[in-house]
């Protein structure tokens, strides 16, 4: 039963699991019910009582069996003894017939009989005495009386009346000598007995009666025949042959007493012997008619005393009532107790299980609540942070506005502080939001093909502003250095290295080995030995282009990215908790360097989300190296191709074959620059100083005859330039002046940050071409180089032919256009718009500057001029007075236009004059289209425009269509004049 309950329990638990928190009433719950316990106990009570009954019944049966056997035994013994006595009487009868009747004279008289019977009395212990009565017929009475000398008397000792026959006792045992001469046939019962006995020839018994000694007894009568009977005598023959009767009194009571006395256990039972000849009125022969004893159980045994006429039976019963069975009671009680105990235990277990189950449910609910709370927390953070950010934008914007107004120094200080705090707050919120997103599991990863290099470029550009602010770049003194390796090859090297490093043997690493690469890059010299740059490049190529042909078959590529820096490092004791959110190295870190200490934990989360590991090494005052491994999947070949395509889109190929000279005193920096150039297909060479560069260039110059290609560009690092300023500038400017016949290399300045003054200086020094701001990005470098070298536009043009705006693009592409506007904003917008259509745009701030640009000869194809320009100032007037071209004191846009036209007409006159004979062949003359730009188009203004020599106008927000219309008539109809040719001719003129 216990097992069964356990089974219920298991079922219940399973169901509970399935139903979750839903409450269900299982058997267990029922088991814990008190009513069930009560029923159980009642059931046990019933069972135990049944057991008791069974045991009791069994005992009763056994008792009855015992009684039966005892009773039967007694009856049998009684019967045996009785029959023995009867046999003796029979023997006596035969004796009498033999010696009294067959002997003549009789051999027996009273004395002999008395003597013999007395001496053989031990054989008849039940018979109180025997007597012999002779059959005397009425005819023989007188003879008989005379012979014996006494008269026959009746039982009442009276002289017998006359009857047919008599049976006077002639012989008697001494114990019953008082019945001598009594006629036995005078008593009614005796007479019947005698008649029955002589008819049957067997012993016959009377019904019981009180004997003289007041004991109950019966009288036994046996017939004695005087002659030998035939074998099967009839009744009459028997009667005829009857000579007398032998009788004896049976003392049944003492007989039974004796008998019982001989048997054990006689006290336990009560024995009654009945004569049931008359079944309706049984006569008691032995025992009391009392009701004592156990009346519930009795046994009746038949007794056969040899008299077929009489029937006897023995009834036995127990003297005492059946004793209650101790064993049965004990067993029943035991069973009951055990059962109750089991029930109680089950009840207790049920209660316990229910309790545990309730607790379990409660705990589960709590768990769900806790989880929900956690999720809610993250969601709350995610939501609220986002909601906070929106007003924060307003706060920061307004603070910026406030700062832009005129403030006292104190106010400015306050406002700046507030702005700084606001920015710190929004950074914190952003980071918390990130972390919350990750924790809330809302960040899901998606596999997208990517180009490693462009990603790195992107990342770099994201942080370019920050790094620029902090002045961090790739230098030996302070830098951030990012590497990517295939994890496997890098790891082996690294492990060895890390081991030695951890063993404190880093000092022992030979410098020469390290010097081969970037020595003392960071606290972890392990990075140095890895042939970092070569490995990177190799990996890059392999990863991007040889993915399919790679022998490695597994789809995953594990990359390791290291970010190294030089700096203060992380203190040893803080290294353990670097990845814990909101933990920083120490409390001063935040104050000194900003940040909230959540970035690293977010990074770690992300890396782990992508199945990688992140770790770091750091040494205080030397620097830190953070590295992480991330497993990527190789993308499909088609995807690779598409990536390649986009890559080639990103990185133009037109620089292929160009040569560059990088001037940088620091090899690491130079290597980086070289790498970027290499990616563009430019062959780069690094030299440490300008002087070396010049020497090299000179060498090239001397080798020009050997078809050696000269460098197309010089990339000079700002530091090198400044350090080598004294002699460098001279040389550089010299280049510009004593220009050889071959093309001069382009001068490009590389700078991390540059002030306006510096840039001016640089321009003066000959870096007019461009300044490239660091950190370098391939796409940016490409764009700058394009600008410098003047290539790319054609390519762009070619590519964009099928595009919709090709008309305008084709029209404007390659055209040089002057934009004149005093408003900087407008200038930028107009220039941007025109640039977009492929034009080469030059800006001028004022009419005066425009005039300067448009001095003939010039190579501008068109001029866009703002209408609402303020008048020229006095300086301009003075300047132009020399040319005696300007008469007007004031002139605005219209005046400027007029002036330009005047110049043109003058030039035209000269041209036509000089080449009059050839002029017929050449119809071109100086007339540059001048278009007015105006924000509000008023027709009156248009008229004025046309009047003063302008060719048209364009509404200022450049609509592509109107622009096209305005420009088309000048460029389509007119063949492109060759300014160079013109200028040549002008010069010769």
């Amino acid at each position: 039963m216990g097992e069964k309950r356990q089974g219920y329990h298991m079922v219940a638990v399973r169901v509970n699991e399935q139903l979750g928190t839903k409450k269900n009433f299982s058997f267990i719950h029922k088991a814990s019910n008190l009513r069930i316990l009560g029923c159980w106990i009642v059931l046990m009570l019933l069972i135990s009582s049944k057991v008791y009954d069974d045991m009791n019944d069994e005992q009763k049966v056994r008792r009855k069996e015992v009684l039966v056997s005892m009773c039967d035994q007694r009856a049998r013994m009684l019967q045996d003894q009785f029959s023995v006595s009867v046999n003796h009487v029979h023997a006596l009868a035969i004796l009498v017939s033999t010696f009294h009747y067959y002997k003549n004279p009789s051999a027996i008289d009273q004395e002999t009989f008395a003597e013999y019977t007395a001496r053989t009395a031990f054989e008849r212990p039940l018979l109180s005495g025997v007597a012999y009565a002779q059959r005397i017929l009425l005819s023989e009475r007188e003879e008989f009386e005379r012979q014996h000398g006494w008269t026959i008397r009746t039982m009442e000792k009276e002289p017998s009346p006359i009857r047919d026959e008599y049976a006077p006792v002639i012989f008697s045992q001494e114990t019953v000598s008082y019945i001598e001469s009594l006629d036995m046939m005078s008593g009614e019962e005796d007479r019947e007995n005698i008649l029955r006995a002589r008819a049957t020839g067997k012993a016959v018994l009377t019904s019981p009666f009180r004997l003289l000694n007041s004991h109950l007894g019966v009288v036994l009568t046996f017939p004695v025949y005087n002659s030998r009977l035939p074998l099967n005598p009839t009744v009459n023959e028997r009667i005829e042959a009857t000579a007398g009767y032998l009788g004896g009194a049976f003392d049944v009571e003492s007989l039974v007493e004796n008998l019982l006395g001989q048997l054990a256990g006689n006290q336990a039972i009560v024995v009654n012997v009945y004569d049931i000849t008359n079944s309706s009125d049984p006569l008691i022969m032995y025992g009391h008619h009392s009701q004592d004893g156990d009346m519930s159980l009795k046994h009746v045994s038949k007794l056969d005393f040899g008299d077929p006429f009489r029937k006897h039976e023995m009834i036995c019963r127990y003297l005492q009532k059946a004793p209650t069975s101790g064993i049965a009671i004990q067993t029943a009680v035991f069973i009951f107790l055990i059962g109750s105990l089991i029930g109680y235990m089950a009840y207790g277990a049920g209660i316990h299980i229910v309790k545990v189950e309730d607790d379990f449910n409660k705990m589960q609910e709590l768990k769900v609540q806790a989880e929900a709370a956690d999720v809610a927390k993250s969601q709350f953070l995610a939501t609220v942070s986002h909601e906070i950010r929106t007003p924060m934008n307003g706060i920061l914007g307004m603070l910026q506005l406030l700062l832009d107004t005129e403030l006292s120094s104190t106010q400015r200080d306050y406002a700046q502080t507030a702005q700084g705090c606001g920015e710190a707050l929004i950074t914190l919120i952003n980071e918390v939001l990130d972390r919350a997103k990750i924790e809330a599991g809302k960040l899901e990863l998606e596999a997208v093909p990517f180009d490693l290099r462009s990603i790195l470029d992107d990342v770099l550009s994201l942080f370019s502003e920050k790094s620029r602010q902090k002045g961090v770049e790739f230098t030996e003194e302070g830098h951030i250095f990012v590497q990517v390796h295939l994890a496997e090859p890098a790891k082996s090297v690294m492990d060895v290295k890390t081991e030695t490093f951890l063993n404190g043997e880093s000092e022992g690493i030979p410098k020469s080995c390290a010097a081969r690469q970037f020595n003392t890059l960071s606290g972890k010299q392990a990075a140095d030995d890895r042939s970092s740059w070569e490995t990177f490049k190799h990996l890059d190529d392999e990863f991007l282009y040889d993915a399919s042909s790679n022998t490695m078959n597994d789809k995953n590529v594990t990359l390791m990215v290291c970010v190294e820096d030089t700096g203060i490092g992380i203190p040893e004791q803080a290294q353990k908790r670097v990845f814990t959110p909101f933990m920083q190295a120490d409390s001063s870190t935040s104050r000194n360097y900003g940040g909230t200490g959540i970035g690293l934990s977010i990074s770690k989360c992300l890396v782990e989300l992508m199945g990688g590991h992140m770790n770091f090494t750091s040494r205080p005052q030397i620097g830190s190296t953070f590295s992480f491994t991330v497993e990527f999947q190789r993308c499909e070949k088609s995807a690779v191709i598409s990536v390649k395509k986009s890559l080639s889109d990103d990185l133009p190929t037109e620089f292929k074959g160009l040569k560059a000279l990088v001037v940088d005193g620091k090899p690491v920096r130079a290597a980086v620059t070289r790498y970027h150039l290499k990616r563009l297909g430019i062959q780069a060479e690094a030299v440490s100083s300008i002087r070396t560069a010049l020497a090299l260039y000179a060498k090239y110059g001397s080798l020009i005859s050997n078809n050696e290609k000269l460098p197309d560009m010089f990339l000079v690092e700002k530091d090198s330039w400044i350090s080598g300023k004294e002699d460098g500038i001279m040389h550089l400017s010299n280049w510009g002046q004593n220009g050889h016949s071959y093309k001069l290399p382009k001068m490009i300045l590389l700078a991390t940050n540059i002030t306006i003054a510096e840039s001016d200086k640089a321009k003066a020094a000959g870096f007019a071409d461009t300044v490239i701001m660091k950190p370098l990005r391939s796409s940016m470098v490409a764009a700058c180089l394009k600008q410098v070298l003047g290539i790319g536009r054609k390519i762009q043009h070619g590519r964009n032919v099928p595009n919709g705006s090709n008309g305008l693009r084709g029209l404007l592409c390659g055209k040089k256009i002057l934009v004149v506007d005093d408003n900087l904003v407008n200038r930028r917008v107009a220039a941007g718009a025109l640039k977009k259509f492929g034009a080469d745009v030059q800006c001028a701030e004022s009419g005066q500057e425009a005039l300067k640009w448009l001095q003939i000869p010039h190579d501008f194809d068109a001029c866009f001029m703002d209408i609402q320009m303020p008048e020229m100032d006095g300086y301009v007037l003075n300047h132009y007075r020399n040319y005696s071209l300007v008469i007007m004191v004031f002139f605005s846009t219209f005046e400027a236009t007029r002036l330009i036209r005047e110049m043109e007409s003058k030039a035209n006159v000269q041209i036509n004059g000089g080449f009059l004979n050839e002029g017929t062949t050449r119809k071109s003359e100086w007339h540059m289209p001048i278009l007015a730009m105006t924000a509000d188009v008023i027709h009156a203004t248009l008229d004025e425009c046309l009047k003063c020599g302008m060719d048209g106008y364009v509404s200022k927000p450049f609509q592509e269509k109107s622009l096209y219309q305005a420009v088309a008539k000048f460029f389509e109809s007119k063949p492109v004049s060759n300014p160079e040719q013109l200028s040549e001719s002008w010069r010769t003129e």
């Binding site: 990130d434 992107d458 408003n823 200022k956």
Partner: protein, 162 residues
């Protein structure tokens, strides 16, 4: 921003732009300006707008200086300033600022000093509003570029995340 998807940021941007257009703060010229931005000049719009802010503040300062001056009479100079302001405003598509400028210019042509002062107040207000909104816009755009650049996976729509 890491968690915010590109789409969402773009939606934010579009919403903000739509609002500005609806309010008449900006007009389609701003869109033209945006179209001018491409790979070769990735920050064209913000560059131009920053120049605009810079110039405009100078102009506003000058205008206020002119108006505050007690014996002020140089409405012509003011007109020049206003023309410039108007030109640059229409270039970037700041419609409302431009409209206020037109009103301002009308007032200055009538030598209406009180009207000028009122117009200046209004102009400053409009300018601040514009600047604020554009700052917000650029901030969102920066985040968007950031998100797009780092290529975080797209976020699934979270129904309980407003």
């Amino acid at each position: 921003m890491l968690g915010l998807s590109v789409d969402r940021l773009r939606a934010d941007m579009n919403r903000l732009l739509a609002l500005l257009f609806h309010q008449g703060v900006l007009d389609e010229q701003f869109l033209q300006l945006q179209q001018l931005q491409d790979e070769s000049s990735p920050n064209f719009v913000s560059e131009v707008v920053n120049i605009y802010f810079h110039e405009s503040e100078k102009l506003l300062r000058n205008l206020r200086g002119l108006l505050v001056d007690k014996e002020f009479s140089d409405y012509k100079k003011m007109g020049i300033h206003l023309n410039q302001f108007m030109g640059s405003s229409s270039s970037i598509g700041a419609q409302r600022v431009r409209n206020v400028c037109v009103a301002f210019r009308a007032a200055s042509e009538q030598n209406n000093r009180a009207g000028c002062l009122r117009a200046l107040e209004l102009l400053e207000y409009e300018y601040c509003y514009l600047k604020n909104k554009l700052h917000e816009l650029f901030q969102i755009e920066q985040q968007r570029i950031l998100a797009a650049g780092v290529r975080y996976p797209q976020q699934r729509q979270q129904p309980n995340n407003p």
